[in-house]
Assembly symmetry: C2
Amino acid sequence: MSQTIYRNGEYVPEEQAGISPFDRGLLYGDGLFETLRCYDGKFFRLDRHIERLRSGLKRLEIPLALDEQGFAGVLRELAKQNNVASGVARIVVTRGVAEFGLLGKHAQEPMVLVTCWAQAMPDIKRYETGIHCIVANERLSSAAHGLKSLNYIAQILARREANAANADDAVLLDSHGHVAEGSAGNVFLVRDRELVTPALQPEILAGITRATVLEIARADKLPTVERSVHQNDLFHADEVFLTSSVAEIMPVTRIGSHWVHLGQPGPVTREMIRAYRALVLREAK
Amino acid sequence: MSQTIYRNGEYVPEEQAGISPFDRGLLYGDGLFETLRCYDGKFFRLDRHIERLRSGLKRLEIPLALDEQGFAGVLRELAKQNNVASGVARIVVTRGVAEFGLLGKHAQEPMVLVTCWAQAMPDIKRYETGIHCIVANERLSSAAHGLKSLNYIAQILARREANAANADDAVLLDSHGHVAEGSAGNVFLVRDRELVTPALQPEILAGITRATVLEIARADKLPTVERSVHQNDLFHADEVFLTSSVAEIMPVTRIGSHWVHLGQPGPVTREMIRAYRALVLREAK
């Protein structure tokens, strides 16, 4: 069924929301995005997503006409028009159409595209059994420092590597060989009830779910450490999980041929899943 | 004026060539492109461009319906319909629309988009005076090894750095600090009449113009070396130039605050410019 899409101030049916073939988002990945989960028509911590988007666009010198309240209105309207209860929303902002060349001179209006569609949570079994990850050969680059840009080819290749190995997802290392991210989220490990995640660096996206997990852990008096994480740390961890707005907290119970926590989600991961959901139910709006 | 565009088998006016807001080229940069210069309605070494495109798409497992002859027909038709004598053509192939998620499962038809528009060569003065480059802080990543993908955010940021420094272009280093590429082309330097360019590695695109310059040099009995190039090599070079299909061979006469060849294009660069043009006139079809 056709869905309604928001594009630069208008709500239009999908088929009529065609993007210019000269849009720089398509030509060069010259734009940013945010992905949010929709909970019964509501959204969790939209303010953080818009804050990250604004700060990234500032670096790219792409102006943004809509503020948080504006986006909140658009998301609510799309959820309503598309009958979305459980779903996913995506905000894309590109430099739009500009003069030929990388600089993007004389850019016309930036393109603001918002979509929201019904999309169930990943199968509950995956949270109960955990997923199988590989450590990808593909490395994550520090290019475009921490921008959530439309440039996902490394992550796509990593994910395809995982698929070819019959795994569910991939962990990417940075150019120094340290653990950077999952293909679509941040990585955490638990060791002696301490929560460890790679420290924010150019290669590492300041995930909204990552920050929320750290916040929950600190409130729970669980020690947290943000530091450089070696590949071997994953193999020696008591528990491993991935975080993202779309999949929330996903236990990883196997990395390559190595079982984590005997192939079962561990107690800290389970507690995080529970606490995150509870927070979402309290705060989503 | 509106131009005609080729999209998946059809010639359509620009305004009607809207791309799906769910096309993975836009969402993730999940696609490749080629840029060619149009010479009096003709193209130079299209076969090499299509060969590179095909081999990259194979790695991404994106099928390509058109062969070299097919693309040649499309390019000629667009040049004719859009009245292009001197111009630029761009071929974009994306995975098209697929299921939500990085893997791109159940992808529908790939999107093949070809555009060709009138675009004069860069101002002749630039070839006579040479351009001013900076060495960008932004690093080029080895992600997506040598694919000419739609992921150009690092190059865009480097180019914007150059612009902020009142320079014309930027040279990017790889993650090890070695010279990789210009923002839109390969880098060559001349030292004691020897032509040096970074050896092909994950960070370095196998440029068609790069290969052509090496071929011309070898035919001219000029020694050529493909090796790792240090930033300092640029400062100690007799001559420096950039190569790309769009700008051909562009002399670099200043790098940061350092003048190259007293701020004038050197004799080897001039000879390369001349020989490249002569080859294009002979071979373009």
